[in-house]
Each structure stands twice: as structure tokens, then as C-alpha cells.
């Protein structure tokens, strides 16, 4: 129990405190506020990374909060998911904050800057808490923390569209939170405890399979909504398209992944309890994944708006992750987890570079962005790199997840799934090429001369870095996969060596 253990709650409390202080300290000095936020995010990233190194060699990092042991007090656990998504959340929030220095000037009025930075930091704290929570109710509370900040951030943009989209997102999110709370109530009534592994052990004794089934159903539906998996994804396109780009990057890249994390936690809980086989759940995930991949890609192809296409591509990639989890073979689950991490990286790059283009030209339809590459070479290059990555071409980061899921499909004896994975990749490539085409090869439409000038350095640096990392990410595939190996095994058996 080395001192590093105490860093775990720090990774939650630090960003939140910084977020809380931001509006108070800076409601007048605006740009100082963004530096404050960036330093806070950097510190959180540092804490998470030390935790990662600790967890990598030491195994699970457990932290009983307030000194009370597990079933009585709340316990924070830093496991594989924490490593993967915690580091992704820290790094990407830092990059988004750096990039949003330029975005926020145009989108929000001055005095709201400090509020924006405050919410982003609270969102980061909420996500870190959500990843580390092994107590069901604590999971719910942190879910609310980052959901509320997400609802508000979507509504940041001026104009009615953003407000309506945020409202839609809020209502759907609130309904899904209520479902999760209902499930918590049911589980608590049966087992008396709130700690997930504790519930798992006691659930069998409660002999109330229907109630446990209902709880499982509510939890799954709740988290599917949060993860925007196919049938329950309708809130995502409007929210992501109308939100300012750094916010949609935050949403698509990270917040949506938290839904998947919730799903994994539920699966681990019920696998441990093993009252009934989870085959039905896996089958559901597989079918939802397949539907999400195809329909997401098709919808993305018929869109005219750039950011809407990216939003639908999030639905496709969520479909891949759901498919990988549903197949429940080590390769597929490993692929799904790797894809979660890599997709967060790629999608943030995509939204930020797209945002850079939209910001400086003020146009968001693809046809208006024709021939922009000459005017904005760096951001178009970053967008192209990220687009190739999201399409899953071999050397890029997107390829690793797809390859592993295809292998998993074979292991699970469902070869036809490979066709789905491939067609998803092809369809994504189709609309990606359409964007690249209009950026590089088509003359400006209707002869209007694009007077846009290149995005400021504070945007170009992060997006170029993200683009390059996405392009070359595939080469690190083997390392990341064997990093995730223990986690995917733990998820599958919900290893009793919890």
C-alpha cells in the first residue's frame, strides 16, 4: 500500500476543485482562466499516469475512502479500464482545453469562459471518478457529475438549435439515469449492499431472479443510452453537431465511452453473480453492434454537414465496440477495449480539425469547404490523417480494433461478422474519401473565394499531433493489446480473483 495509492482520490478531487475554483477566481481575467484549466488538466494527467505505472506493475490499486473497508465504505479501484480510459481522458481533455482557447473566444461571451473551463474540469473529475468507482451508487453519482456538465456544454453554443439539442440530450440522459437508479434500488433491496463485487456474491442468495433480471435490463438500457448504441442513439447527432467542436470532441471521444464502461461494469457484476447466463446480453450486443455499424455508416454517407457525418461515425464505432464486447471472446473483447482507447484519440482529432475548418470559414457543409486545403494546409492535413485512421486502414490506430474484432468473430464461430466489419470500414472510407475529395481535389464551388486563413497555433499543434499519433498508432497495437490482456480476461470470467 505505497503512498501512490493516495493519488487515486486525488485524480478525482483535483480537477473538480480546480473546476470549482475557476469561476470564482477568474470571472474577470479570462485568458488566465484557460491557463489555470490547462495546468489543472496537466496535473491530473500526471496523477493518472503515475497511477497507471503503479497499477501496471502492482496490479489493482484499491482505495477504501474515509478508511472504511469495502462493503461499508466506498472503495475506489483503479483497474485495466482505469488505465486505458483514465489516461485517454486526461490526455484528450488536456488537448481539448489547449485547442479550445481559440474556439471559446468566438463561441462564448467573455464572462462565460471561466464557467466553460470549470465545467470541462468537473467533467474530467466526474469521468475519473466514474472509472474508479466500484460502488454502484458512487458510479451513479459520478455519472451524473459528468452528464450534467455534458448537457450544459452542449448548450454552450448560441442559437435555439443548440438549446433544443441539449434539452433532448438532457431528457434522454435523465431517463437513463433514472433507469440506472431504479436498478440500484432493486439490487440494494435484495442484497443490502452497494459494493459491486459484494452484490455479485450476495445476489445468488437472494433467490429473486426476476428482480435481478429487471435490474440487469434497466442497467443495460440505461448505459446503452449513454453509450449511444444504435436504437438509443437518436440524441447524439443533434447534440454533437450543434455543440462547439471541442465539446463534441469531448462528448464523442470520452463521455460516450463511459456508457460502455458502465456496460462492462454491469456485465462483470452479473457474470460474478451468474444467476442466469449472459448469452442473451451478448447476443443483444452483437445484433445492436451490427445494426449500429451499418446504419451509422450509411447515415453518415448521406449527410451534407461535416460535423453530422462525424457524429454518425461515432455511432458506427460504438457499434464496433458493442460488437466486440458482445462476442465475448478474449480477442474480440481485447479489440473492443483497444478500439475504445484508439477511437477516443481519433475522434478527438477529427472533431478538433473539423472544428478548425468550420471555425475559420464559418461554413459547415462539405460542398462549401471545397478546395480549402490550399488555404488551410495544416488543418486539412490533420483532418485527412484522422479520416484515414477512422476508416481503419492498416497502419492507423483504427485498424487494431477492427482486426482484433474480426479475429474474435472467427473465434466465436461467426464468420459472417467479418463481412459486417469490412463493410463498415468500406462505408466509412467512402464518406471519408468524399470529404478528402472536396477538400483537396475539387475547385471552390460557385467560384466563391475562400478567404479563410489558417487556424491559430493553439489549434494546429494539438490536431497535428493527434493526426500523426492516429496515423502511426497501429504500430503500437501489440503493446496496447497485451496491456489490455489481463483486463479482457477479467471481464470475461469476471474473475473471482477480483
Amino acid at each position: 500500500m505505497s503512498a501512490a495509492v493516495h493519488l487515486l482520490p486525488l485524480s478525482v478531487v483535483l480537477p473538480i476543485t480546480a473546476g470549482v475554483l475557476a469561476p470564482a477566481l477568474f470571472h474577470r481575467r479570462h485568458n488566465a482562466c484557460s491557463w489555470w484549466a490547462i495546468t489543472a488538466a496537466a496535473l491530473t494527467l500526471a496523477t493518472t499516469l503515475t497511477l497507471v505505472s503503479e497499477a501496471l506493475d502492482g496490479g489493482l490499486v484499491r482505495y477504501p475512502v474515509g478508511g472504511w473497508p469495502a462493503p461499508y465504505g466506498i472503495e475506489l479501484v483503479f483497474d485495466g479500464l482505469g488505465i486505458l480510459m483514465g489516461s485517454a481522458a486526461g490526455l484528450l481533455t488536456l488537448l481539448i482545453l489547449i485547442a479550445s482557447r481559440a474556439f471559446v473566444q468566438t463561441e462564448a461571451t467573455p464572462q462565460r469562459h471561466s464557467l466553460f473551463h470549470g465545467l470541462v474540469l468537473i467533467n474530467l473529475g466526474g469521468m475519473n471518478g466514474f472509472l474508479a468507482a466500484s460502488d454502484l451508487f458512487n458510479l451513479f453519482v459520478f455519472m451524473e457529475v459528468f452528464s450534467i456538465s455534458a448537457y450544459a456544454l452542449v448548450a454552450l453554443a448560441r442559437g435555439p438549435v443548440a438549446a433544443l439539442a441539449a434539452l433532448k440530450y438532457l431528457i434522454v440522459g435523465a431517463v437513463s439515469s433514472m433507469l440506472v437508479l431504479l436498478a440500484i434500488a432493486l439490487l440494494h433491496a435484495q442484497t443490502g449492499s452497494l459494493n459491486m463485487s459484494d452484490i455479485g456474491d450476495r445476489l445468488a442468495a437472494a433467490q429473486a431472479p426476476a428482480a435481478a433480471g429487471l435490474a440487469l435490463g434497466c442497467l443495460v438500457v440505461g448505459f446503452l443510452v449513454k453509450a449511444a448504441v444504435f436504437p438509443l442513439h437518436f440524441w447524439l447527432p443533434d447534440a454533437h453537431a450543434s455543440a462547439p467542436s471541442p465539446v463534441s470532441a469531448l462528448l464523442s471521444g470520452l463521455v460516450v465511452k463511459m456508457g460502455i464502461v458502465g456496460l462492462i461494469r454491469t456485465r462483470m457484476l452479473f457474470a460474478e453473480a451468474d444467476i442466469f447466463s449472459l448469452v442473451a446480453l451478448d447476443l443483444l450486443l452483437v445484433w445492436l453492434g451490427v445494426a449500429a455499424i451499418v446504419i451509422g455508416a450509411v447515415l453518415a454517407m448521406i449527410q451534407r454537414e461535416l460535423k453530422l457525418m462525424l457524429a454518425y461515425s461515432t455511432v458506427t464505432n460504438m457499434g464496433y465496440i458493442a460488437l466486440g464486447l458482445g462476442l465475448a471472446t478474449p480477442a474480440a473483447v481485447g479489440g473492443a477495449l483497444a478500439h475504445m482507447g484508439f477511437h477516443a484519440l481519433i475522434k478527438t482529432g477529427l472533431f478538433l480539425s473539423a472544428g478548425a475548418l468550420v471555425l475559420s470559414t464559418g461554413l459547415s457543409r462539405i460542398d462549401d469547404l471545397r478546395g480549402l486545403a490550399q488555404r488551410m494546409p495544416v488543418s486539412s492535413a490533420a483532418l485527412t490523417l484522422a479520416l484515414l485512421a477512422v476508416a481503419g486502414l492498416p497502419p492507423t490506430a483504427g485498424f487494431v480494433g477492427k482486426w482484433q474484432i474480426a479475429l474474435g468473430a472467427l473465434e466465436a464461430g461467426q464468420p459472417w461478422l467479418i463481412a459486417v466489419v469490412m463493410s463498415g470500414a468500406l462505408l466509412t472510407l467512402a464518406w471519408a474519401i468524399r470529404i478528402i475529395n472536396s477538400l483537396y481535389f475539387l475547385p471552390p464551388a460557385r467560384g466563391q473565394v475562400l478567404t479563410a486563413d489558417e487556424a491559430p497555433l493553439s489549434i494546429r499543434a494539438p490536431i497535428l499531433m493527434l493526426g500523426l499519433v492516429a496515423m502511426v498508432g497501429g504500430l503500437a497495437g501489440a503493446m496496447v493489446l497485451e496491456w489490455i490482456e489481463p483486463l479482457s480476461f477479467r471481464i470475461l470470467e469476471a474473475g473471482h480473483g477480483h
Binding site: 493516495h6 482520490p9 478531487v13 473538480i16 476543485t17 473546476g19 470549482v20 475554483l21 469561476p23 470564482a24 470571472h27 482505495y63 477504501p64 475512502v65 474515509g66 478508511g67 472504511w68 462493503p71 461499508y72 466506498i74 475506489l76 461571451t109 462565460r112 464557467l115 466553460f116 465545467l119 468537473i122 473529475g125 466526474g126 471518478g129 451508487f137 458512487n138 453519482v141 451524473e144 457529475v145 450534467i148 456538465s149 448537457y151 450544459a152 448548450a155 454552450l156 448560441r158 438549446a163 441539449a166 431504479l182 432493486l186 440494494h188 433491496a189 435484495q190 442484497t191 443490502g192 449492499s193 452497494l194 437472494a206 429473486a208 426476476a210 428482480a211 429487471l214 435490474a215 435490463g217
Partner: protein, 234 residues
């Protein structure tokens, strides 16, 4: 057509839930799972460990302190979200609103009652750890008082009274207090969010936290009301 579809969906869901809930152990029996396990432990600890009579406050502030911390953060996030999302600022388009026509009787009653309500709210907050009550409930009462006052005296005077800078700090007091106590816990006892050893120190910490939550809650409520009120009249 849409409503018919929704109706069918809801009925199906209700049937499912009915089946599920009915399997739960009937409420009210003393010996079923809920009481045996964790709750019993909290109750059994008794006064000496918990240091507070009101076990609910003990659970809230001691055993599951992180939940309450999360909750306080949620309230704060909602507050700055409201400020962020409010429709664009800009000067008032309409003339300053004349006060809501409040009959003199109501006006006098409010002025008369204010001190008592305030006292009651404070009592609830401070005595929270012994008698039923506690930070949130006290905070809500205080918030309600603020709203009543703004009705009676008119929002501008109320808003004027609170200096904007101070308003921000007041709003941030709850989460900050919690962080400080968490750090104190780390320092003194060695765990985050732990409360200091029983005795006067723990009482003091509890009261401090209750006060912070109470004022934080009140500030949030007034914040919500003021921004809503301002938007509607804008």
C-alpha cells in the same frame, strides 16, 4: 399514432417491472436483507464510533462521504451550468419589472417571519447530526427564504445586496469545504474524506460540513431562481 405506440411500450415496461418488483422481499419486515447487512453495521456502531446520533448524517458524511462530495459537486455544476446556458446577456429589453403585485398583508407577514425562518433553518443545519435534519434540508429552507424575500423586496435589491464576487465564492463554499475536510482527513487520519477521531473534533468537523452544505445549497437555489427570473423578464 405516436402516443399509441408509447402507450404500448409503457404498459409492457410496467408489466415487466411489476413482475420484477413483486419478487422483492416485502417491505416492512425487519429481518430481510436490507437491514441485515450493511445497515445493521452502521446502526450497531453506535454513538461512540459514529460520533453522531443521526445515523443518516453519519452515513452521509462519514461512511459514504464520497457520495455526498459527488452530490455537492453536482449541485455546483448545475449552478454554473445554469449561468453558462442562460440566454445571452445584454441589456434588459423591457423596462425594469414592476414588483409582482404582492398584497401588503403578505408583504408584512414575510418581513415578520424572516428572522424565525432563518433561525429554524440554522437550527436544522446545526443540529443535523443529532436530530433529524442536516445540511441539505437546512439549505433548502434557507433557499426558500431567499426566494420569499426576493418576492417581497423585489429581485434587484436582493441581487444588489450580494456583491457578485462574493456570490461566486459563496457558491463555491460547499465543494471547497468538502475538499478541505477530505484533505484534513488525509492529513490527520491517513485516508481521504476520513473524519478526525471522535470527540469534539469530529463534532466540529461535522457541524462545519453541515454549514457548508447548507449555505452551498441555499446559494444554488437562489442562483437558480435569480437567473430564471432574470431570463423570463429579459
Amino acid at each position: 399514432m405516436r402516443s399509441a405506440l408509447a402507450l404500448v411500450l409503457v404498459v409492457v415496461l410496467a408489466a415487466l417491472m411489476m413482475a420484477g418488483v413483486s419478487q422483492l422481499p416485502p417491505p416492512g419486515e425487519a429481518d430481510q436483507a436490507v437491514h441485515r447487512h450493511v445497515a445493521a453495521n452502521y446502526l450497531a456502531d453506535g454513538v461512540e464510533e459514529g460520533g453522531t446520533g443521526n445515523r443518516v448524517t453519519a452515513v452521509l458524511l462519514d461512511y459514504r462521504a464520497l457520495d455526498t462530495y459527488g452530490e455537492v459537486v453536482v449541485i455546483f455544476a448545475a449552478l454554473i451550468a445554469v449561468l453558462l446556458v442562460r440566454s445571452a446577456g445584454g441589456p434588459r429589453t423591457q423596462p425594469p419589472p414592476r414588483r409582482v403585485p404582492v398584497s401588503p398583508v403578505v408583504d408584512q407577514v414575510i418581513r415578520l417571519m424572516t428572522p424565525f425562518i432563518a433561525l429554524f433553518a440554522l437550527f436544522m443545519i446545526i443540529e443535523g447530526h443529532v436530530l433529524p435534519g442536516g445540511g441539505f434540508q437546512g439549505g433548502v429552507v434557507l433557499g426558500a427564504l431567499m426566494i420569499l424575500l426576493s418576492l417581497a423586496l423585489g429581485p434587484d435589491r436582493l441581487r444588489g445586496a450580494l456583491h457578485t464576487g462574493a456570490l461566486f465564492w459563496l457558491r463555491a463554499v460547499a465543494p471547497l469545504a468538502f475538499t478541505v475536510s477530505a484533505l484534513a482527513g488525509l492529513g490527520l487520519v491517513g485516508w481521504w474524506f476520513a473524519l478526525p477521531e471522535p470527540g469534539w473534533m469530529r463534532e466540529f468537523a461535522l457541524v462545519l460540513l453541515e454549514l457548508a452544505i447548507g449555505f452551498g445549497g441555499a446559494a444554488a437555489l437562489t442562483g437558480f431562481f435569480l437567473s430564471l427570473e432574470e431570463d423570463i423578464h429579459r
